[in-house]
């Protein structure tokens, strides 16, 4: 057996763990899935336990344990920041220093306490944050060499890093440092628009197509100076994160016509336009940086990671611009994915092991790297709880029943295979619906997910059918690319009133925009997941079964959770979510549970309070 390495990320947001054996990712999971606390930043002891379980090894069999961040460098940044803003910023410094000195510095102790061993190296190996991100993007990619782009809020110092990967080596040759950060600019706008930082950025991106980039010039003029090569500087006079606990300050509010929107209050034209504006800025920086990177490295391939790499609209534009021949993005591009990067960095750079690339395939394994549950353990749970179910062992029959239910307009909770690693549900812990049905979007948003009605849903499409539905002909297995719906499928929309200044988005949302309206956003785009049989056979065959019934090789796929809840992990999590919503059918591997057959659900926790809104 090759080297066994445990990678850990944590103590900032979205902690996680990953385990590699001989350079192959064997397991990876986010702590939030087990703790049921969204973006849980705590030491990922349950995720680590799972990784060791999946590999079925004792902790002392680990060759090394790697941490995704260098706490000393982060502390250095905090000290510099404190000196720069003194005498202000005392609270920021104390909070940050406590976080680092109180936790990160003691990672060795946390690991020893959690698993009883530090592996054969005998100490935790620390990486640099952006190196971990870069490694998470490059090593699992299918490329022997590639340009590397890492963009996030902040790691230790770096907020944007440019590099190149070749075989086992990674070199980061340029970086932009804190406080200048595209990620923090996006987060500041997320906060200002009334969404939660480090979680609501996705909503801002979804809101952008409703607006006009009316604030673009103002942002360019006052907040960010973007150079031709994509490098940028922020005007820190407008931000609160250097010396306070909020992202923006009075100058920012004055610049954008008033105070931040209160969370859960009505979304106005201002927020839509701000979203469109900051999205345009983001795309501009990403595209310019990519062009510079292409030119300076000469590489034909690009790999990306860091929170900004989850901006699938920008990714789609990058793809459409054809700056690089191929792009691969780490699906767990946020901090949790740093665990994979840390483990692989140690494998290739510390132990000097060679990369093994499977031609044409990445090493991410469909990102289905989390726990699975056998039919036996699912039935044990259902039997013990007394929940009625149908055990349908005939696979074809089961898939046909589920596909028929979707075609009949039912909303299906789909729990199958190993759980996804990363923020997107990819057909293992998903809620599924019929994309042809004009009611699917509103039903799923309001009765299933309990979230804002403007938010779009994504399609899962058979890989071989992708260009029949979308203006795209490449693979997008991780739902990280946005592309237009085929023109011939689109239907004209009446936007006169909305464009005329009416804030109400509902009349826009409720218009049928294509023959797959549930997955067509208001700008006729879609966030696409292509599905290959090799990655997830049951999910692929389910879509095939749906195609056999309807003629459409595409379904609606959204994450199996309610708003603010981490994606479900266990069969019991799935059952609870099923019963708290208005889903019609729950599929737990080969067990089917119909809502109308279930007993009254005695909910023993106030989940609406437990799961904070993002």
């Amino acid at each position: 057996m090759g080297k066994i390495i445990l990678g850990i990320s944590g103590f900032y947001h979205d902690s996680g763990a990953a385990l590699t054996i001989d350079g192959s990712i064997v397991a990876a999971a986010q702590e939030e899935r087990f703790s049921r606390k969204k973006h849980d930043p705590r030491f990922p002891k349950q995720a680590i336990n799972y990784c060791l379980q999946e590999a079925f090894i004792e902790a002392d069999e680990l060759d090394a344990v790697a941490f995704y961040d260098n706490p000393l460098l982060t502390f250095d940044r905090l000290v510099h920041n404190a000196l720069a803003v003194a005498p202000r910023g005392k609270e920021v410094f104390i909070d940050g220093a406590l976080g680092i000195l109180g936790k990160k510095m003691w990672v060795n102790d946390y690991v020893r306490q959690a698993i009883g061993s530090l592996g054969k190296v005998g100490k935790v190996l620390f990486c640099e944050h952006h190196m971990a991100h870069a490694a998470s993007a490059f090593y699992p990619s299918p490329f022997t060499s590639a340009a590397i782009l890492v963009m996030d809020g902040v790691g230790e110092w770096a907020t944007t890093s440019l590099g190149v990967g070749k075989d086992e080596n990674i070199e980061l040759f340029a970086e932009i440092n804190y406080p200048h950060s595209l990620g923090l600019l996006y987060s500041a706008m997320t906060y200002f628009c009334g969404f939660k930082v480090n979680s609501g950025e996705y909503k801002l991106m979804g809101l952008a197509p409703y607006g006009e980039p009316r604030y673009y010039s103002r942002i360019r003029e006052h907040l960010i100076d973007i150079r031709e090569d994509g490098s940028y500087r922020l005007n820190t006079d407008y931000f609160g994160y250097l010396d306070g606990k909020v992202m923006t300050n009075e100058a920012f509010h004055a610049l954008f016509d008033g105070p931040p929107r209160k969370p859960e209050s009505r979304i106005t034209r201002r927020e839509m336009d701000l979203a469109a504006s900051v999205q345009k800025i983001t795309e501009e920086v990403v595209l310019r940086t990519a062009r510079h990177l292409r030119k300076s490295t000469g590489e034909r391939n690009l790999v990306m990671a860091g929170g900004v790499a989850l901006n699938c609209v920008a990714n789609g534009k990058l793809l459409a611009e054809k700056i690089f021949d191929q792009i691969w993005i780490q699906p767990a591009a946020g901090d949790a994915g740093g665990a994979i990067g840390a483990a692989l960095l140690v494998h290739h750079l510390y132990f000097g092991e060679k990369r093994k690339i499977q031609p044409g395939r990445d090493g991410q394994k469909g990102s289905l790297l989390g726990p699975s549950y056998s039919s036996e353990s699912i039935r044990a749970m259902l039997d013990r709880k007394g929940y009625p179910y149908h055990h349908i062992q005939n696979r074809d029959e089961r898939l046909r029943l589920v596909a028929q239910a979707i075609a009949d307009g039912k909303i299906v909770g789909w729990f199958s295979n190993r759980m996804e690693f990363g923020p997107r549900a990819l057909g293992a812990r998903s809620i599924l619906g019929d994309p042809r049905n004009p009611n699917t979007q509103s039903v799923m948003n309001l009765k299933i997910k309990y979230r804002e009605s403007f938010r779009p849903f994504a399609p899962s499409v058979l890989l071989e059918r992708v260009s029949e539905y979308f203006e795209m002909d490449v693979e997008s297995p991780y739902m990280l690319l946005v592309a237009p719906v085929k023109k011939e499928r689109c239907k004209p929309m009446d936007l006169e009133r909305f464009r005329g200044g009416d804030d109400d988005m509902l009349p826009v949302i409720n218009q049928v925009r294509s023959d797959i309206p549930a997955v067509t956003h208001v700008d006729y785009s879609a966030r696409i997941q292509t599905v290959r049989r090799e990655d997830n056979p049951d999910y692929y065959d389910l879509i095939k079964a749906f195609e056999a019934i309807t003629g459409y090789g595409v379904i609606v796929n959204t994450s199996f959770n309610v708003r603010g809840e981490p994606i479900v992990c266990t069969p019991l999590d799935a059952y609870r979510c099923f019963m708290r919503t208005e889903m019609d059918l729950l599929v737990l591997e080969d067990c089917l549970l119909y809502r109308n057959e279930q007993p009254q659900f005695e909910d023993d926790e106030n989940w609406r309070e437990k799961y904070e809104l993002d």
């Binding site: 336990n49 379980q53 020893r112 036996e376 353990s377 039935r379 039997d383 266990t570």
Partner: protein, 335 residues
């Protein structure tokens, strides 16, 4: 707590391990690996009915001390014995949280047709309390205390009668039980409130020594109803089994006894009596534990968890090995 459920309902035993599991349980030791076989017992290998002609086979029945709570499969005394005695395979039928009544039922349901050479009945001394219980406390997936019903035997005259079968499938809340059933909840011993306070103060060992605490007064008299029930279960099991010369009865001591914070004489005397009465081999491992100095013995259990550490299992394995070899020497084949 693990994110995997470990047990499934069984209509005779109450529950057993879910088959084909590979799970890691977080623990104060850092965690341990649990693997179950197709039959649903904690074992790295499948249980076959026919014996491998090249190997001797031992069947072991017991509770969590045998199933191996706190340690990975390979570190349990049963698995260590397999390594210590070449050409021996040990089938571990241990199920955590069960009593000797359920072990007898496990033998009846799963093992009676399994060819073997020796059968070990491992009775954790605490089991005397479990056999009179009809409900046991467990923590559910949310960490809440719930009760599960179990099968149990009662003595009607000289006759052992099985009751509570099939046990209720769903968990019960303690306040749901009718008053007449309340005494049959296994609460982990006497003086529940005082125990809780003493444990929280961390002065348990001191108090035990000071007060000459006897955790299991059920062994004090040969006529105690709980002991009479234990004896009846063992007698029926051995009689039904029919080959007493192959049976090793092993009372497993708790840490009180190993660390000599309470008197082990009563339970040892009872097991000596019953072994003699039934004509089975008695293996008392306590002297082998006592052979170690007191400061070493403390390491035979975990800091908080009272289950044996890998070291505790090693000592138990080396101890039991002697009796297994002795019995194997007398019984070279099983027809």
């Amino acid at each position: 707590m693990t994110h995997h459920q470990l047990f499934e309902y069984h209509p005779l035993i109450a529950y057993k391990f879910i088959p084909n599991l590979k799970v890691r349980i977080p623990h104060e030791s850092g965690g341990y690996l649990v693997q179950t076989n197709r039959m649903g017992f904690r074992s790295n290998h499948e249980f076959m009915r026919e014996r491998n002609p090249q190997k001797k086979r031992v069947l072991v029945f017991g509770d969590s001390f045998t199933a191996g709570d706190g340690v990975s499969n390979g570190k349990r005394y049963t698995d260590i014995i397999e390594k210590l005695i070449p050409s021996l395979e040990v089938y571990n039928f241990g199920v955590s949280g069960t009593g000797s009544d359920q072990h007898y039922l496990i033998w009846r349901e799963f093992a009676r047709d399994t060819e073997h050479d020796v059968m070990v009945i491992a009775v954790l001394v605490e089991n005397i309390r479990r056999i009179v219980a009809r409900y046991r406390r467990y923590l559910d997936e949310e960490g809440r205390r719930v009760l599960f019903a179990k099968p149990y035997f009662v003595l009607e005259g000289d006759k052992l009668v099985l009751k509570g079968c099939p046990p209720k499938r769903e968990a019960l809340r303690e306040d749901e039980l009718p008053p007449e059933e309340q005494p049959y909840v296994e609460r982990g011993g006497r003086f529940e409130l005082i125990r809780r306070v003493i444990n929280q103060l961390g002065i348990k060992d001191f108090v035990h020594k000071l007060t000459h605490y006897q955790p299991f007064p059920e062994y004090d008299s040969p006529d105690h109803p709980a002991w009479l029930l234990m004896k009846a279960i063992l007698r029926q099991w051995v009689e039904e089994y029919g080959q007493k010369e192959r049976v090793i009865l092993m009372p497993i001591p708790l840490y009180y006894h190993i660390e000599e914070s309470c008197d082990a004489t009563p339970y040892r005397r009872r097991f000596e009596e019953v072994a003699e009465e039934l004509g089975v081999h008695l293996h008392d491992p306590l002297p082998d534990f006592w052979a170690y100095p007191p400061e070493v013995r403390r390491a035979f259990r975990f800091e908080k968890d009272i289950h044996p550490t890998p070291e505790g299992h090693r000592v138990l394995a080396e101890s039991l090995k002697k009796s297994i070899e002795k019995v194997l020497g007398l019984n070279l084949s099983f027809s």
